[in-house]
Amino acid sequence: MEAIVNEIYTNVVEGHNKVVITKVQAALDAGVAAPVILNEGLIPAMTEVGRLFEEGEYFVPEMLIAARAMQSGLAILKPHLIESDIKSIGKVVIGTVKGDLHDIGKNLVAMMLEGAGFEVIDLGTDVTPEKFVDATRDKSAHIVALSALLTTTMQSMTATIQALQNAGLREQVKVMIGGAPITQEYANMIGADGFATDASRAVATAKALVLQ
């Protein structure tokens, strides 16, 4: 691996936003190909961040600052990746469901998915079933990811899955869900395809769903 790509990796893991910006630009200026920076720097760095989270070494603040450093690097790379015709490994429409404004869990999942090579379309919070349907159709999404913190709002997940069904989209899109009160049992009950307990494990779930 190029030394500068290694430095990008280390600085993403440690959440040094400004250093990542400088190093990514420097790597591009030195002629390192954008896909190399992505696939050997940014994505492995976020995989390591996920591992550190699962091991209990990283918590939400460390994950947030690493993800932001990754996003800064990715923003610089994006025009070059488009030039190189690099495709994402899948498109994910994500949002916190109707009635619920809690977004940190959803934001962490979105950032971790982006850091794993997915294209993420973030619809924000209090998202109606209709908005999920429209975005799924307009973006030809592979996955719809639904978040809820509350027992009173997690019931909007059922309404969203039903709306996808009614729109004739359910067969072409996988639905994954998460949030504090959500369990695998609940996912099975409402007919979701995947569930994860946290942002790191959501990446594995999403990867498994696009491979199905």
């Binding site: 603040p61 600052i65 404004l101 934001n107 509350l150 009173t152 909007s156 946290d198």
Partner: protein, 362 residues
């Protein structure tokens, strides 16, 4: 047995006639309950958007009465968007349940979002006499009978993140530690002043709180908690107990905070709330910490109360009495306000099982 005697016995790890109980509800559930019990409307008093009234609590046979001073009273002030006295903006959002439509108030504006805003920020004054009028009335009217709790939850971290913005506050802890310290000091000073005043007035217990647990792990690392929050909490508790050594201090954090419980015991905490059973195993908590700590809450508001059957609720209450409440040391109640999605039969299963089950041997 008087309500306050029941609580005191439990907190002394003795078995009272039955387990003491404290229950709160969202305003929408409280409305349903008032209709079910044929009670007139009364003034709401509970923090964090709670729908409790003293009339309702007393009619249910609750043993603790709460009176709150602080930022947590900013929840649910209006249906329309509003700014509270801290300059924090709020927005109301509706949700739908099988039992009707409810709403939560959530943050929409953070006055200290910009780094330099803290230099000119003026927090509200915690010394205004009118803030303590309710506490004075509650103490005068009910202290002979009930265990009175002065509430200053959202003590530092939660109020600081409302002032600053949640993700911004979390990243400040990692990237801007000096600013994070300044931010935490604002609500810390306010709520310490309020808690000292309530202690001087004669409350039996002060309830502090800051959510530092996520569902399965801590939100921030134990190391970060020990750096930013533990010293302030230690001083908070010490100052209160220097006013009244008999005062009990309870602390609320949602989620899993297992790694810092020994630290909480070390700094003088008496009672831990709310013990979410999906996040921390109540039996293990009792085994590991029951000699040094009492517990409050523990009836599952994420699964059993909204989605279980009355038999499930009854079984959970009985299990808690045999585990977390073995030999006292427990105040039973839901792990959060009872929500509108809860079947009323489940609610009554909880209340009736608590009030009808004597401690064995009592």
């Amino acid at each position: 047995m008087k309500h306050r005697e029941r609580v005191l016995a439990a907190l002394n790890n003795e078995t009272p006639d039955r387990c003491p109980m404290q229950v709160s509800f969202t305003p929408e559930f409280a409305q349903r309950l008032r209709q079910d019990m044929n009670l007139a409307s009364d003034k709401l008093h509970n923090p964090h958007g709670g729908g409790n009234t003293y009339e309702l609590e007393r009619a249910l046979g609750e043993d603790l009465l709460l009176t709150s001073v602080g930022w947590a009273n900013s929840y649910y002030q209006d249906v329309a968007d509003y700014l509270d006295e801290w300059g924090i903006g709020w927005h109301s959002v509706e949700y739908t349940t099988p039992y009707g439509v409810g709403r939560y108030t959530e943050f929409s504006h953070h006055p200290l979002a910009e780094d330099d805003a803290i230099n000119t920020y003026q927090p509200p004054d915690p010394n205004r006499p009118e803030l303590y009028q309710e506490a004075e009335w509650v103490l005068r009217t009910f202290k002979d009978e009930y265990w009175i709790v002065g509430v200053t939850v959202t003590t530092m971290f939660e109020c600081a993140w409302a002032l600053r913005g949640y993700e911004r506050m979390l990243t400040d802890l990692a990237l801007k530690p000096e600013l994070a310290e300044q931010l935490l000091d604002i609500p810390y000073q306010y709520h310490l002043t309020a808690a000292k005043k309530l202690t001087q007035m004669g409350v039996d217990m002060i309830w502090i709180g800051d959510d530092v647990g996520a569902q399965n792990t801590m939100l921030i690392s134990p190391k970060m908690w020990r750096k930013f929050l533990k010293p302030r909490m230690a001083n908070f508790i010490a100052e209160l107990k220097s006013i009244n050594p008999q005062l009990k201090v309870a602390y609320h954090s949602d989620g899993n905070i297992y790694p810092i419980i020994p630290d909480l015991i070390e700094i003088g905490l008496d009672i831990l709330n709310p013990i979410q059973p999906a996040s921390m195993d109540p039996t293990q908590l009792k085994r590991d910490f029951g000699d040094h700590l009492c517990f409050w809450g523990s009836i599952d508001e994420q699964h059993t109360l909204p989605f279980g059957t009355p038999a499930d609720v009854k079984a959970e209450v009985l299990t808690r009495l045999e585990t977390l409440g073995k030999n006292g040391g427990l105040i039973l109640g839901p792990t959060h306000h009872v929500q509108l999605d809860t079947p009323i039969q489940n609610f009554w299963a909880m209340i009736n099982t608590i009030t009808d089950t004597p401690y064995s041997g009592s």
